[in-house]
């Protein structure tokens, strides 16, 4: 509390509580904590349903349609089933690590949502280093995944966990670099200010940045086409092979909660967050999150999986140079033509993105071939 008093008394830019909030600091914290938990859990249920239905429809089959009207209660049924299952721990497993892994994997996702604005000023903590916070916290999930893989004392799990760590570490860099382009345009690291600065959504001004962030984000959260961490057809279930019961439910939750969190970040950074006409802002926010998630499901259904060395090659040889080039181009644009009409910038950026992606992929060789044994 001393830190808070110090900040308030010295008028630091940190706004602990927005000025129009009725009530004290702790009431604000409690309200938003509850909102966040409810939001994440409800959205997970909804998102699981959307994914399974969409997956089914895109695969020319129906998807769940029996549990509840239109199969809406499928996720609830799954949750109940999983909770009733026996909690098995392998005898050779490291018990503490095995038990802690789901917690370590899930907590950062909730913590991440603390800086995402639902409405103008409506977020748990309007940190003025919001972007840095997002980047830092989102890596902690990997520690949980690796704990799961190692603590299961199972070769499959370990293989899956190693792959995850390698992939996440590689994809952090294009992720961060593409965010910096947005930060340059908005002039602030605070997520609320970034949303406020988006008179035209940054997806138009930073198309290459959006593409890079989306790809790197999908790789971070282990979604197809980068889901070899839990590749069903190769490693049975990767790092969560040995989990059952509530702990498995947590990992399942983590997968979708991360997807929602990533979709929320994408919405905030690129799609204009809660901005939009007519509807209430929080509804716009949820709508945009669902749309981004829809695109994620779409890529999942359509594309086959890449191999691990192809994954690494994609990160280091394709996304990373493009991210650097994106950063330079954005920096030059912000410095040299700060007053240029935004629409010229849009056209130029789309042209640059088209040229870069097409030209680079022509010269890009995916992965090694056969190794001499």
């Amino acid at each position: 509390m001393a830190v808070l008093d110090f900040a308030m008394n010295n008028s630091l830019p940190m706004q602990a509580v927005p000025p129009d909030w009725p009530g004290g600091y702790w009431w604000h914290w409690l309200f938003f904590t509850v909102v966040l938990i409810v939001f994440i859990l409800t959205m997970v249920l909804g998102v699981i349903y959307i994914e399974r239905r969409l997956l089914g429809r895109m695969q020319s089959r129906l998807g769940p349609n029996r549990t509840g009207p239109f199969g809406l209660l499928q996720a609830v049924a799954d949750a109940v089933k999983v909770l009733l299952k026996e909690n098995i721990v392998p005898s050779a497993a490291d018990r503490v690590v095995h038990w802690l892994a789901p917690v370590v994997a899930f907590a950062p996702v909730l913590i991440l949502m603390a800086v995402v604005p639902f409405q103008d000023g409506a977020l748990l903590a309007d940190l003025n280093i919001g972007v840095l916070y997002v980047v830092a916290i989102s890596s902690v999930t990997t520690v949980g995944v690796f704990m799961a893989g190692w603590g299961s004392s199972n070769k499959y799990s370990l293989l899956g966990a190693m792959r995850t760590v390698a992939a996440v570490v590689s994809y952090e860099i294009p992720l961060v670099l593409s965010i910096i382009g947005v930060v340059l345009l908005a002039g602030s690291l605070s997520l609320n200010s970034i949303v406020l600065a988006q008179d035209i959504p940054f997806i138009l001004l930073q198309p290459l940045g959006f593409f890079l962030f989306f790809t790197a984000g999908c790789a971070e959260i282990n979604r197809s086409p980068f889901d070899l961490m839990e590749a069903d057809s190769e490693l049975v279930a990767g790092f969560h092979t040995e989990y059952s019961g509530m702990k498995f439910a947590m990992f399942y939750l983590v997968e979708y909660a991360e997807a929602i969190a990533m979709a929320a970040i994408i919405t905030t950074l690129f799609l204009g967050g809660w901005r939009g006409p007519l509807l209430p802002p929080w509804l716009w926010f949820i709508l945009k999150v669902v749309i981004v998630f829809f695109v994620m499901v779409w890529t999942r259904t359509t594309l086959p999986r890449v191999r691990i060395d192809q994954l690494m090659a994609l990160a280091w040889k394709f996304l990373f140079p493009l991210a650097l080039i994106n950063l330079f181009v954005t920096a030059i644009q912000v410095l040299a033509w700060p007053d240029a009409l935004p629409w010229i910038m849009v056209v130029i950026n789309f042209a640059i993105m088209g040229v870069l992606v097409l030209a680079w992929s022509r010269f890009f060789k995916l992965g090694w071939g056969r190794v001499k044994v």
């Binding site: 020319s60 197809s224 070899l228 069903d232 057809s233 086959p304 999986r305 890449v306 056969r370 044994v373």
Partner: protein, 367 residues
Amino acid sequence: MTFSTEPFVLNFGPLHPSTHGVFRIKATLDGEVVLDIEPVFGYLHRGIEKLMEERTYTGGIPLTDRLDYVNSMTNNFAYCLAVEKLGGIKVPERAEYIRVIIAELQRIGNHCLAVGAMLNDAGALGTPFFYLWRQREKIYDLLEMLCGQRLMNNYVRIGGVSQDIPAEFLPAVMKFVPQLRSFLDEYDFFLMQNEILLARAKGVGILPPEVAINCGISGPVARASGIKRDLRRDDPYSIYQRFEFEIPTCEEGDCYARYRVRIAEMLQSLHIIVQAAQSMPPGATKADVPHLIRPPAGEAYGHIEGPKGELGFYVVSDNSIAPYRCHVRATSFINLSALRQMVRGWKVADLIIIFGSIDITMGEVDR
């Protein structure tokens, strides 16, 4: 500072989401690279060859259904061919045409499953698999119209087929053919240039033609390596000499080549079906052979170009109602012998896709 590593053995156990049946691979891995594999199978061994010695010749036909259960009637066909060679039995014309149509329908159905399963192993989460499975369901409908069973059809008999085709069968087949053709064009268009599929399958798991010949590989796997050998052309059985069709081959011998050969073969099968349906004569559908047939003593080897390759039956008779010895020259069993060489040096993910591209059915491997 040298970095010392040691290889470890990972067991892709008999129960595994993508081993196409109960098949166990003991893979020695160095990190992700496969150094060596040892295939272990026999989990589905039912002793079919011994059981055939205790059934009559006709009573053994349902046993052959269960060999390559993905396309049952090709097994029936090969077995009946062998016994007809033994007994010198001539099959009536109409039955031959029906058998050809069925064999080609089974070929299409098998390739639907093979391509879908290979793409499923590549990680495409089932989307191409479900699309192809829908076509296979349409073939099931046709087969149900024909003999009442979708799988394990047991329709082909020694000397012909068990009953005549219903009146609505040929029109249904002719309706199915153009629909499948346009579906395959669209499907191939989606997948042919898919970057990720190309990266996963092109150049992966190359089978050199000398190795293929030495191991006795047959079928689409051999044709994808450049070996232009197809029993319908090189050793024609039934009435295949009357039909015009091409034998698609590729030169590279990688997984992508096997995929392309299978898609091309499906289109050629459609061509054969149309020709057969248009020129089917009326007449008897089964030669007049007794149910408890006693072929004269001797031996015969009857083989066909099944969807997976050369499927042969070596039947020895001692003039009794049951075969003295019946051996199955099982395609998948023999195609499996090249797996070890194809896989060494590739990664775990490639092991799965290479195994999927050979198209193995454990029923045939284990018998």
